[in-house]
């Protein structure tokens, strides 16, 4: 119970904090300052943003499908938070060490796409619908190789439990033998969180704000929090699966190692946003199905072959 509270508290502080971090980092890479007026280093801008979101009019358009419209933003936040259930932060600090951890994570994070599709559909707005349609198109292009890219790790560790996978990396982090798996998973992860360069359902330069064009106030805030939680989730899962989770030299406690590695990936997410342009969604599908999917299969087959060869 304490762990649940601690995890929830930490995550819900990190999510708005990331807004500040992202704005500062983007500014740094674009030779600007970013928010630097409110509080030390502009940190209070987080507070100001949150207060603003709470006091904004929470408007439901009269033409929207009300029930679905209200429930869509909740789905994204809930599914991402549920995925964190299986993430081991340190030895013993895990909400629930399921023996099908990876499958649970894949299932829950994929459910997040429902919020995009339902939100865009319920808004009853052509831009939202286009965003939702793109979201669905994106979903079928990355979801397959996202799951398959992790199977190499599962083959090597012989377990679906994230805790066991971390323990199995004591000798060598899986990023070395499973480098392609890591690349595929990370690309799929960026698509999963709908972050740039794969923010195709949102695409603010072409679709207003895509699936959340009609959302305001805290409902929009939930989409926002969901997105930043998604970044944290994909970063931490990447760390757990490929970078040895909380393993690291003794001078720092395991949680610190985990947080350090995760923040490295979060910053890499922001760097991706700062530097890469957005592909068309048919380009993403082509990339996914014609390049990454065969490569992932190849990686899986190669891993399996080598493991069998080593056994015999």
């Amino acid at each position: 119970m304490i762990i649940i509270g601690a995890v929830l508290g930490a995550l819900l502080t990190i999510a708005p904090g990331l807004i500040w971090l992202e704005r500062r980092m983007l500014a740094l890479w674009q030779d600007r300052y970013g928010p630097n007026r409110a509080g030390p280093f502009g940190l209070l801008v987080v507070l100001a943003d949150t207060i603003k979101l709470f006091f904004k009019e929470d408007w439901i358009p009269p033409f929207a499908d009300k029930f679905v419209f209200v429930i869509a933003p909740a789905i994204v936040a809930i599914t991402v938070l549920m995925s964190f259930v299986v993430v081991p932060f340190a030895p013993g600090i895990v909400v629930s060490d399921l023996n099908v951890g990876i499958l649970f994570f894949l299932a829950m994070s994929s459910m997040g796409a429902y919020s995009i599709i339902l939100g865009g559909w319920a808004s009853n707005n052509k831009y939202s619908l286009l965003g939702a349609m793109r979201g669905a198109a994106q979903l079928i292009s990355y979801e397959v190789f996202m799951g398959l890219s992790l199977m190499g790790v599962v083959l090597m560790s012989g377990s679906f439990s994230l805790n066991d996978i971390v323990e199995a990396q004591r000798g060598m982090w899986y990023v070395v033998p499973q480098f392609f798996g890591f690349l595929m998973f990370f690309i799929a992860g960026v698509a999963e969180t709908h972050r740039l360069p794969f923010d195709i359902p949102e695409a603010e330069s072409e679709l207003v704000a895509g699936f959340h064009s009609e959302y305001s106030g805290m409902k929009f805030g939930l989409f926002f929090v969901g997105e930043y939680l998604g970044i944290t989730l994909i970063s931490s899962v990447t760390v757990v699966l490929f970078f040895g989770g909380w393993l690291g030299p003794e001078f720092l406690p395991p949680v610190a190692w985990f947080a350090l590695k995760t923040f490295g990936f979060i910053i890499f997410f922001i760097l991706l946003r700062a530097s890469l342009p957005r592909p068309r969604y048919d380009q993403l599908m082509e990339f996914g199905w014609k390049i990454l999917f065969p490569l992932t299969l190849l990686n899986l087959v190669a891993t399996a072959t080598i493991l069998l060869w080593l056994e015999t």
């Binding site: 740094l28 890479w29 030779d31 600007r32 300052y33 760097l271 530097s275 890469l276």
Partner: protein
């Protein structure tokens, strides 16, 4: 694929570049002398008003933000009785400065004229008139113009010959 990694690297290197931002209220922008900002009315070296109330600036103004009324003093010198610029309309195009035949109206490098009350943006003559010559030091319109005013008759201007009596036969 290589180009993606390369652009990531280039963006990353920007971490070590100098930031372009000017922290405005603390740090001021460097404005050049020809920057078109707040409009002023200048005086000649003898501290007389340069403006002769010719209305050319008001005519040139594309947004009609200048209004003035010309009048004459006891010496026959023309000057504006009132001179009013509505800065809430002004677009700082500088046409008034180009139109002015006496270098009276000038745009100076100053843009910090924000107001809470719109009416405060209407500048009267006392707000516009400065005690200096602006960009054209030493220029005095009545000293170089042929027009006769009190204290300066025809032919007494700089580089001007005394008037010729056109009705006389003698050279």
């Amino acid at each position: 694929m290589f180009s993606i990694v390369r652009s990531l690297w280039i963006t990353f290197l920007h971490m070590f570049h100098k930031r372009e931002t000017i922290q405005y209220p603390e740090e001021k922008v460097k404005l050049t002398t020809r920057w078109r900002g707040r409009i002023v009315l200048t005086r000649d070296p003898d501290m007389g008003e340069r403006c002769v109330g010719c209305y050319l600036c008001a005519a040139a103004c594309p947004v009609d933000c200048i209004s003035l009324q010309a009048t004459e003093d006891e010496n026959g010198r023309r000057y504006p009785a009132f001179f009013r610029i509505n800065f809430s309309r002004c677009i700082f195009c500088g046409y008034c400065e180009e139109a002015c035949p006496t270098y009276a109206i000038q745009l100076i490098p100053d843009f910090e004229m924000g107001e809470y009350n719109r009416q405060n943006l209407v500048y009267e003559k006392k707000d516009l008139l400065i005690d200096g010559q602006g960009k054209y030091a030493g220029y005095n319109y009545y000293k170089v113009a042929g027009m006769a005013i009190g204290g300066k008759d025809k032919g007494e201007a700089e580089n001007e010959n005394p008037p010729v009596d056109v009705k006389s036969l003698m050279p």
